[in-house]
C-alpha cells in the first residue's frame, strides 16, 4: 500500500507530471523549449505531429492528458491545424486539472510563446505541489508490459519472470495489460484457451489473425534484424517468448488504445488498427505501444529487453527488466532488474518474478527507475483507426 495523487475521477496517480502537448509538428519546437527547463521538475513533452484530423489521436491525447499520473496540461497549438484544441481543453478542464492553450499565431510567434508557456508551467508546477494524496492499494494499480530489443533470452528469463509478477498483481486484484498482437502470431491457439469466457476465445483468435493480415499486407513481421543477431529466427519463435510475459492468469478481456479496463484482471491490448490497412505499420517503434498502454491507464510499464533497449516514457515510469546477462553488464546504468542471472545459475524465475513485483510497489511509491534517472521521456504517436470493441471483449 502506498499513496497516490487523487484525481477528480477517483483514479490515483503515482507521479504528478505536468504535460506539455503539441497538437501539430509545427508547434513541437516551441513545446519542447517550454518544457525543457522543467524536465527535472516533472514537465513531460508529448504530442501529435499530424495536421489532418484523426479520431484515434483525439482519443489518445484526451486519455493521456487526463491520465492519473498527470496533474496539469499545457496545449501548444500553431493555430491552423485540424486538431480540435478547444474540445481537448474543455475535457481536461472538466477533469479538474489546471489547463491552458497557447496558440503560437495569437501569442506573437516563437519567442513570446516560449516565454508565456514557461511562465505558465512554472506557476502551475508550484500549484501541483499541493495536490492531495490518498491511499493507493495494490488493487488500484494498472501495469502494462512490453518487450523491446528482444533476443532469444527474452522468452527464457525476463518475460516469464514478468509473467510471474503479473500473476501476483492479478491475484491481488490489480489490472495487468499485455499487448502487441503482431508478436502473438503463432500463439493464438494456446492463448485462446486462457479466455475467461467462451465468446472471448474467438475474439482473441480473430485479433491475432487481424495482426497477421496487417503485417502480411505491409510485407514485414514485427521482427527487427537485431532479433536475429540475438538468436531469434522466426516471428512465431519471438511470439512464444513475448507471450510468456502475460503469465498464467485467465484473460479477462480485450481492449483497444484508450480503453481503460473496467476492473482488475489480465487484459490483451489489441494495437493493430481495424479495417483496410491504412497509415502504415501498426506501431512504428516500442514507444508507440508504450503510449497506448499508458492511454489505457497504465501507471507504470514493465519493459523486458535482451539486446538492450534504453528507452523510458513520458507520463509513466518504465522498469527495465534485462533478459540477457551479457547485456545487463554492458548496459548496467540503463537496467533496473537483472533477469539474465537465471541463465548463470544466480537466481530462479520465481526470485526474479518476486523482485519485479517488489520493484513495481517501490516505483509506485515514488522510487525512480533507471530511465527516469537518465531523463528518458520518449513519446511517439502516429495515425491509426479503430472500430469500437465487440460485445464479447469486456467482462459483463
Amino acid at each position: 500500500m502506498t499513496e497516490g495523487y487523487l484525481r477528480s475521477d477517483g483514479r490515483k496517480g503515482i507521479r504528478n507530471t505536468l504535460v506539455v502537448a503539441y497538437l501539430v509538428e509545427c508547434a513541437h519546437h516551441v513545446a519542447r523549449e517550454v518544457a525543457w527547463p522543467f524536465r527535472e521538475q516533472g514537465a513531460h513533452l508529448i504530442g501529435f505531429p499530424g495536421c489532418f484530423p484523426n479520431a484515434y489521436a483525439d482519443r489518445m491525447l484526451h486519455q493521456l492528458c487526463t491520465h492519473p499520473n498527470v496533474g496539469g496540461v499545457l496545449l501548444l497549438s500553431l493555430g491552423c491545424e485540424s486538431f480540435n484544441r478547444r474540445e481537448l481543453e474543455a475535457r481536461v478542464r472538466a477533469s479538474g486539472r489546471p489547463v491552458a492553450t497557447l496558440v503560437i499565431q495569437e501569442a506573437g510567434g516563437t519567442r513570446r510563446s516560449i516565454a508565456e508557456g514557461r511562465n505558465w508551467v512554472e506557476r502551475t508546477l508550484r500549484e501541483l505541489a499541493a495536490q492531495p494524496r490518498s491511499a493507493l492499494p495494490v488493487r488500484e494499480l494498472v501495469v502494462g508490459t512490453i518487450c523491446g530489443g528482444s533476443d532469444a533470452t527474452s522468452g527464457i528469463t525476463a518475460n516469464p519472470a514478468m509473467g510471474r509478477a503479473f500473476d501476483q498483481l492479478v491475484a491481488q486484484g490489480a489490472t495487468a495489460i499485455f499487448e502487441e498482437t503482431g508478436e502473438l502470431i503463432g500463439c493464438e491457439a494456446i492463448m485462446a484457451e486462457r479466455a475467461a469466457r467462451p465468446a472471448l476465445r474467438e475474439e482473441l483468435v480473430a485479433c491475432v489473425a487481424k495482426a497477421a493480415r496487417h503485417y502480411a499486407t505491409l510485407g514485414h513481421g514485427s521482427f527487427a534484424p537485431g532479433n536475429a543477431d540475438g538468436g531469434l529466427t522466426t516471428i512465431e519463435e519471438k511470439s512464444m517468448g513475448a507471450y510468456s510475459k502475460s503469465g498464467q492468469s485467465p484473460i479477462a478481456g480485450i481492449i483497444k488504445p484508450g480503453d481503460v479496463p473496467p476492473r482488475g484482471g489480465l487484459y490483451l491490448l489489441d494495437v493493430v488498427p481495424d479495417g483496410e490497412v491504412r497509415f502504415g505499420f501498426a506501431n512504428i517503434s516500442d514507444n508507440a505501444e508504450i503510449a497506448e498502454l499508458i492511454a489505457c491507464g497504465s501507471h507504470l510499464i514493465l519493459f523486458s529487453t535482451g539486446r538492450g533497449s534504453v528507452v523510458g516514457s513520458a507520463i509513466a515510469p518504465v522498469i527495465k527488466v534485462c533478459a540477457n546477462p551479457e547485456t545487463s553488464r554492458r548496459l548496467s546504468d540503463d537496467m533496473d532488474i537483472d533477469a539474465g542471472r537465471v541463465l548463470e545459475g544466480r537466481g530462479t524465475l520465481e526470485e526474479v518474478g518476486a523482485e519485479v513485483f517488489e520493484r513495481v510497489l517501490r516505483v509506485a511509491a515514488g522510487e525512480r527507475t533507471a530511465s527516469e534517472i537518465l531523463g528518458h521521456q520518449e513519446f511517439i504517436m502516429t495515425y491509426k483507426s479503430f472500430t469500437p470493441l465487440g460485445p464479447a471483449c469486456l467482462p459483463s
Partner: protein
C-alpha cells in the same frame, strides 16, 4: 538447455567460441563459428519440411535437412507465417557462416 521435453532444438545458455565442442542430443559437435547465448542447435536429425519445436510448439519449418548439433537459424529455418527480415550483410553472413 532444452526448454520443453518435445523440443527438437536446444538453446545455448552461454556464448560459445569457434572450435569449442559441445554435447547435443548424445552427439559431440564442433562449433564452427562463435555463437551468442540464445542461439539454437538441432537436438536430433531433422528432415526438411519438419516443424522446429521450441517451448513445445512449432516456431517454423526446416527449409533443408538439419543434422543433429547444427546451428538452427535463418539459413535453415523458415517461418510458417511471415518471412524474417535481415539486413543484406547479415543475410550473407548467416548464409556463409552456418
Amino acid at each position: 538447455m532444452q526448454l520443453h521435453p518435445q523440443d527438437n532444438v536446444v538453446v545455448l545458455t552461454r556464448t560459445v567460441a569457434a572450435g569449442e565442442r559441445v554435447c547435443v542430443g548424445g552427439v559431440t559437435v564442433m562449433i564452427e563459428r562463435a555463437l551468442a547465448l540464445g542461439h539454437k542447435l538441432a537436438a536430433c536429425d531433422i528432415p526438411a519440411g519438419a516443424p522446429i519445436l521450441k517451448y513445445g510448439v512449432s516456431i517454423g519449418s526446416a527449409a533443408v535437412p538439419i543434422p543433429a548439433g547444427a546451428h538452427v537459424h535463418t539459413h535453415n529455418l523458415r517461418s510458417n507465417y511471415l518471412p524474417t527480415y535481415l539486413h543484406a550483410t547479415q543475410q550473407r553472413y548467416f548464409e556463409e557462416h552456418p
